[in-house]
């Protein structure tokens, strides 16, 4: 097992290097630091001195790949590539273009993101599994058909409408929950209800649709027929036999997104004013703070790759037929 995990971790290294090179190319080769400085300072009426000063303040006043003025290893380390890109590997995200310490911001802002993301995931999973089991139980009937069509309609509505509509109805018309905001601890509970509910409703269409096909696939398998032939009731077959086996693809499908929960949701967090990593990214986009965006791209990739590794491991854990080779 340990050898397997080590090998999977080693596989991740070339991919992370690739991600790093892509972000470096995107942020420093498509546009030179001069262009970014001009952008930050306003495109018109910028003096070369102002650009130089901005670059020096933000550490962009070095050569891209090779520093001819330095000796030895410093020729490679005193470059933009080393200070801005290679340092990402040790999670040194540097300072944002505004001058704040990105690593510190991230460590503070991931908790509100998790406070929204974890309940959304758990409640969503429970709702989706229950609904899809219901549809699978009544497969082919009017309940099933209505459910499937409702699912398609729900998928066809943009997440923006769920959020705007939910905020309008629940907060503005009925005054049930605050429209936006966040505090820590138990007092913050009332702020979480609406975002979580909307995240669940927004995901119920696609989730139920996907899980329903998983359940239907299991229902047609031989062991289910055997169980029925033994005289077990349909409900017992569904809960005792099908549910257990259907949980394998469902749970392994969920594992991949667990690490990404740290990143939060861009839309939910910005609409509800939750100070998580999602709204952090949105703010950075609006302020065109490229240092933060670059850090988030790298962090997101790392978390996604961890998710993939966890998925592979969870496959081997839940299904003993899959061997670690």
């Amino acid at each position: 097992m340990l050898a397997y995990i080590t090998r999977r971790l080693l596989y991740a290294i070339p991919i992370l290097i690739g991600v790093n090179l892509i972000t470096f190319a995107l942020f420093f080769i498509v546009n030179t630091p001069d262009n970014i400085a001009r952008m930050q300072l306003g495109v018109k009426n910028v003096t070369p001195e102002a650009i130089q000063k901005w670059k020096a303040n933000h550490g962009y006043d070095k050569p891209l790949l090779y520093n001819e003025n330095k000796n030895g290893s410093e020729a490679l380390t005193e470059t933009i590539f080393y200070t801005k890109s290679v340092r990402l590997f040790v999670f040194d995200f540097g300072v944002s273009d505004e001058g704040r310490d990105i690593s510190h911001d991230i460590s503070q802002r991931m908790w509100p993101s998790l406070a929204i993301a974890i309940p959304s995931l758990i409640v969503g999973l429970l709702v989706n599994i229950s609904l899809s089991m219901l549809l699978a139980f009544f497969r082919g009937s009017y309940i099933d058909v209505t459910g499937v069509i409702t699912g398609v309609v729900l998928i066809s509505i943009s997440a923006l409408f769920y959020i705007i509509g939910g905020q309008y109805i629940m907060s503005k018309l009925w005054h049930l929950v605050p429209i936006s905001g966040y505090t820590e601890g138990v007092a913050g509970f009332k702020f979480l209800i609406l975002p979580v509910a909307i995240a669940v409703i927004g995901g119920v269409g696609s989730g139920t649709r996907w899980y329903r096909t998983i359940f239907l696939e299991e229902i047609n398998k031989d062991y289910v027929r055997t169980a029925r032939a033994k005289g077990l009731s349909e409900l017992r077959v569904l809960f005792r036999h099908i549910l257990k086996n259907a949980m394998i693809p469902i749970l392994t499908g969920v594992v991949v997104i667990i690490p990404l929960l740290f990143m939060g949701s861009l839309l939910t967090e910005s609409f509800f004013g939750i100070p998580g990593l999602g709204s952090y990214t949105i703010d950075a986009i609006h302020a065109q703070d490229f240092a933060i965006v670059r850090a988030m791209v790298f962090l997101g990739s790392v978390l996604y790759i961890i998710g993939l590794i966890l998925t592979d491991i969870s496959y081997t854990l839940v299904d003993p037929r899959i061997r670690l080779s």
Binding site: L26, V43, Q167
Partner: protein, 479 residues
């Protein structure tokens, strides 16, 4: 000849083809070639017939086609001649309009001062109105265009609207009966059968096995909507007006093109890469496979939203730093739209590529390909003649499945601030504006409502149609 400026005809125009327009024409040609090809091959016709025999799919297809028609009309851009120069050449307007704009000219031009509710005859907010005798009162001013044809708008509006709805319904019913009859007569002449027989068959759904009742109902509804908008939208603002007084119905109709461009051109751009790389990886294996797998694993391991954000931000900097490359705002917005399609394409080709690689891996072991290899057929020929036709169903399924997701993505990205240009009319920008409007008192809900209805209609029909396409083309579901 003595031509003065007021004798310039409407057809004296200068075509002004944008980049996205070219690609849309290209797409149209590709679809035309495909349809021509599919009509002549039974194995391609059969699944399509199966799709169109399903009522839901048929009606989705018709609605999608009408969306596509609006998008197409909106993709023919030109500049109109304004007046004549001394040397006899025409001078053209700087503003480029589309054929669609010309068709709905009243919608485009009837702009009010600011917000007004759907079917309103007054503005949304009170203003100081100066009467003829110089006294100033504070009241809701009358709209310039909405209900302007009425003497007493407040009293007569509802009656007038009712009358117009009756007229439109009457016209639409007449039109659809005429169309049905014409079609039936054509069919009866073609098949040498009696007219009554054809109509009966259509009623029973036996004519070509297609659900004609559904066709007529759907077409009838669309024709009714066209007549209703001709009667109502020309004299009222059926979806109200926005902050600068533009007709919201016009905005949401114009958004159709943006949505369709994102949904279709993105796939058009990414398809060559995905198909070529996917098949190459599966067919050649070895280091080619390793390399291509490495590329798509790396690309897909960056969360797509973040990759899109990063790429769009960089393109924005590039465009802002080269303002001289574009002569008009419209061109700039168009290039931005195209860039967005490219970026979405780069982030979305990996899924298709992976599927095609798997399928090619399977296919290369098939007997007929082994036989072709044994005969010494070149790799290029094997790929184009044997593998490509056998993976096209996967491509088709994914293309239609991706479409609705891309239309939805446009709205979200525009909200995040990395979508289409803010000057471009799109559902995303409409929703983005609606966010502040919902906080007003009284609430300005009509922009959001219009965007919601049209987007839902497009995405829902696309999803329903995609499901039918998948059911018909996926061999695993065929039993």
């Amino acid at each position: 000849m003595n031509i003065t400026s007021n004798t310039i005809a409407w057809w004296q125009v200068m075509p002004n083809v944008l980049w996205t327009d070219w690609l849309i024409y290209l797409l149209l040609i590709a679809v035309g070639v495909f349809v021509y090809h599919a009509r002549r091959h039974e194995h391609l016709r059969a699944p399509w017939r199966q799709i169109l025999r399903r009522r839901l799919a048929m009606s989705s297809c018709i609605i999608l086609l009408s969306f596509a028609t609006i998008g197409m009309l909106d993709s023919i851009h030109f500049r109109q001649a304004t007046d004549l120069r001394d040397d006899g050449s025409l001078r053209y307007s700087n503003e480029s309009v589309s054929l669609f704009d010309q068709l709905v000219l009243p919608l485009k031009n009837n702009t009010e001062k600011t917000y007004s509710a759907p079917f309103a005859t007054q503005l949304y907010s009170k203003e100081n109105i100066e009467a003829a005798d110089g006294s100033v009162s504070r009241d809701y001013p009358k709209l310039k265009y909405g209900g302007a044809h009425l003497d007493n708008a407040g009293r007569d509006a509802s009656k007038d609207i009712q009358n117009r709805i009756v007229t439109a319904t009457w016209h639409a019913a007449l039109a659809i009966v005429l169309l049905t009859l014409l079609f039936a007569i054509w069919q009866s002449m073609k098949n040498k059968t009696q007219l009554g027989c054809v109509l009966l068959k259509m009623w029973r759904g036996e004519q070509d096995g297609l659900p004609w009742k559904t066709v007529i109902t759907t077409l009838g509804s669309i024709i009714l909507l066209i007549f209703l908008s001709r009667e109502l939208a020309t004299v009222y603002h059926v979806f109200g007006t926005d902050k600068v007084g533009q007709d919201v119905f016009y905005l949401t109709l114009k958004s159709i093109r943006t949505g369709l461009v994102i949904g279709t051109l993105t796939t058009l751009i990414m398809l060559p890469f995905a198909i070529m790389l996917g098949i190459m990886a599966g067919y050649f294996r070895g280091w080619v496979d390793d390399l291509i797998q490495y590329i798509y694993t790396t690309l897909s391991s960056i969360p797509s939203v973040l990759l899109i954000v990063a790429a769009v931000l960089m393109i924005q900097v590039l465009i802002d730093n080269n303002p001289d490359a574009f002569t008009t705002l419209q061109q700039r917005a168009d290039v931005k739209l195209l860039a967005l399609c490219f970026i979405l394409g780069i982030t979305s080709w990996t899924g298709l590529c992976r599927l095609l690689r798997g399928e090619s891996l399977k296919l290369r072991e098939a007997d007929y390909i082994q036989a072709a290899q044994a005969f010494g057929v070149s790799n290029f020929k094997i790929i184009t003649r044997h593998i490509l036709p056998n993976v096209m169903h996967i491509v088709l399924i994914l293309v239609v499945l991706d479409f609705s997701g891309l239309v939805l993505a446009e709205a979200v990205l525009s909200y995040v601030g990395v979508g289409v240009d803010p000057s471009m009319i799109s559902w995303g920008n409409m929703i983005n504006g609606a966010r502040l409007e919902m906080a007003r008192e009284p609430v300005v809900w009509w922009s959001l409502m219009a965007a919601f209805i049209f987007m839902l209609l497009l995405v829902l029909t696309a999803n329903l149609f995609a499901d039918a396409v998948r059911d018909a083309f996926d061999p695993r579901l065929r039993n």
